[in-house]
């Protein structure tokens, strides 16, 4: 097993894996839509970290395209957050209740 440290690929990938799993956990367990959004951001973040780590440790020479992919992930996350929060805002405005939990419980 590769040793833990800044110069081993495995340590970055393990951190990214744990971030991704935490995102899955948040999405699967949160009842509030904002909690689900937080989980989504964690998963996006894990993906960007993986891209960058693989680009840095590419066989031969470091490859900046990993960073480019990570930037695209960040942009996608920003667009997703904007749209999701607009939807949340619309739900709050129309249901006359600021609590999304209450909105959900009224529905069922």
């Amino acid at each position: 097993m590769a040793e833990f440290g800044p110069s081993s690929l495995a340590s970055y990938l393990i951190v990214a894996g744990i971030l991704f799993a935490a995102g899955v956990l948040a999405i699967a367990t949160r009842r509030n839509a904002i909690g689900v959004l937080i989980g989504l951001e964690l998963m996006f973040n894990a993906a960007a970290l993986q891209f960058t780590a693989y680009g840095r440790f590419r066989a031969g020479a470091p490859d900046p395209q990993g960073q480019i992919a990570a930037v695209f992930v960040v942009v996608a996350a920003a667009a997703e957050a904007a749209v999701a929060l607009a939807l949340l805002f619309a739900v709050y405005r129309t249901s006359k209740d600021v609590d999304l939990e209450a909105t959900r419980e009224l529905r069922s």
């Binding site: 367990t29 959004l37 964690l42 900046p64 609590d99």
Partner: protein, 186 residues
């Protein structure tokens, strides 16, 4: 040695922040812990010689998205700790989610270790190539404006469409109307 300690600190920030954001009951605290995870990841980017990406991470994620999420938590009634009673079915779903996430984490770590063992044999030592031309902000900018130029423009278009859509969504549901929430349910 000091490098390893700093790296461990960043990794610990990222992991602790992520687990806390997933597990803490208080939504406001969860959003703050998400910020900790994002800052820890930015530190990891510094170790990957992606200083520019670390700046982007702090400015866009922590400065933009996290502030948006913190703002959105203020809509929630129970931000300051009044924890809601979860019914039995939801708690069961929570345990199922924990098992699922544990399985995902276990499998990812297995795959990653096998992969890294393979890659460690083939990659060159870090820092061999000239960092100014093969990694870092200058190289990333060159690649972004040459072979990734069209996706870069498409990204700008995506952001514009997303922001216009966000504004349009809010405008459309601005006035409470009968059955207005029906449209959003799907």
């Amino acid at each position: 040695m000091i490098e390893t300690l700093l790296f461990a600190g960043c990794a610990l920030c990222a992991i602790a922040g992520a687990l806390g954001a997933a597990l803490v009951k208080n939504l406001f605290h969860a959003a703050l812990l998400l910020g900790l995870a994002l800052v820890g990841t930015a530190g990891l980017y510094l170790f990957l010689e992606a200083q520019w990406l670390a700046c982007v991470q702090v400015v866009v994620y922590v400065g933009g998205i996290l502030v948006l999420i913190l703002f959105a938590t203020l809509f929630s009634a129970d931000i300051l700790g009044a924890v809601q009673r979860a019914p039995w079915s939801v708690r069961m779903a929570g345990w199922l989610g924990a098992v699922l996430a544990g399985g995902v984490a276990w499998r990812l770590v297995q795959v990653v270790l096998a992969e890294a063992r393979h890659l460690d044999r083939t990659r060159s030592a870090p820092g061999v190539a000239d960092p100014l031309t093969t990694s870092g902000g200058a190289a990333a900018g060159n690649v972004l404006l040459s072979s990734w130029f069209v996706p870069f423009l498409a990204t700008g278009l995506l952001l514009t469409v997303a922001l216009v859509a966000a504004v349009a969504t809010v405008q459309r549901f601005r006035r409470p109307a009968n059955g207005g929430s029906e449209a959003i349910r799907g």
